[in-house]
Amino acid sequence: MARVGVVTFPGSLDDGDAARAVRLAGGEPVRLWHGDADLRGVDAVVLPGGFSYGDYLRCGAIARFAPVMEPLVDAARGGLPVLGICNGFQVLCEAHLLPGALVRNDHRTFRCTDQRLRVENAGTAWTHEYETGEEVVVPLKNGEGGYLADERTLDELEAEGRVVLRYVVPDGGRNPNGSARDIAGVTNAAGTVVGLMPHPEHAVEAGFGPDPRTGTAGTDGLRLFSSALRRLVA
């Protein structure tokens, strides 16, 4: 069984949920502690959501320097699949494993909502069980989820198919946090490191995820975890 590490930083909140998602997807979650520079031989890593170090300076800015990040950054550069969810995405950007940065939502409030997303790249380690163009509904909850990068970087990301997920925005509407080009998630060039603001780990069990009234079974997030697992086992 593939072993997937889930890192706990001080202030991590969705670490237990990420571990549950790994388990429900058929993997073995392995808890990793921020203070240990040791990946315990895992096959992939999830950096979970939360407010590491209170997110006081900038989201993810302090967690990026945690001891566990040293082996993680090296391993990620070497091809280890890494998924950063929300705060985990912010940590990956601060650690320069992914381009860009996440800033305060343009409406300046925290927003928790069932969010419709479009899968733009179903070729990454974490999305290959989806279809390109498929729409899914997954909870989104953040105060600083606006994805920004300079125009050149954004053009590059699009040209290389490195935009993994986009917010589905109704005609005339705006995306939920002011993200450039409605970007909800991006990947590195190898398609192994993926970061996204929405929370797939909160859409893995019917009845505990998005409201069925939004037209979803509530389990659209599960395939992110099973994608990685299947590829690792195969």
């Binding site: 170090y53 209170g54 006081y56 300076l57 302090i62 320097f65």
Partner: protein
Amino acid sequence: MGRVVVEVMPKPEILDPQGKAVAGALPRLGFGGFTGVRQGKRFELEVDGEVTPEVLEEAARAAEVLLSNPVIEDVVRVAPVEADAATTTLAGGSA
């Protein structure tokens, strides 16, 4: 076009969780020399013309009324940005 800088800091007796978090991180990154950190806000206000004493006066009032929360914060500085630029260059050399 002129600019006024307004700076606001948490009152000394008030807990500053942000500064505390930064203070905790610095030594771990090898910056051992700092014994405390406080984090506040810096606003740059733009005006069409020059920064006259009247503009500074208005900025100071805006600082009290809107830019700071007098219950927990102090306005520590209201000044034209020029004065600032000089300092930046000065210190910038060491960066």
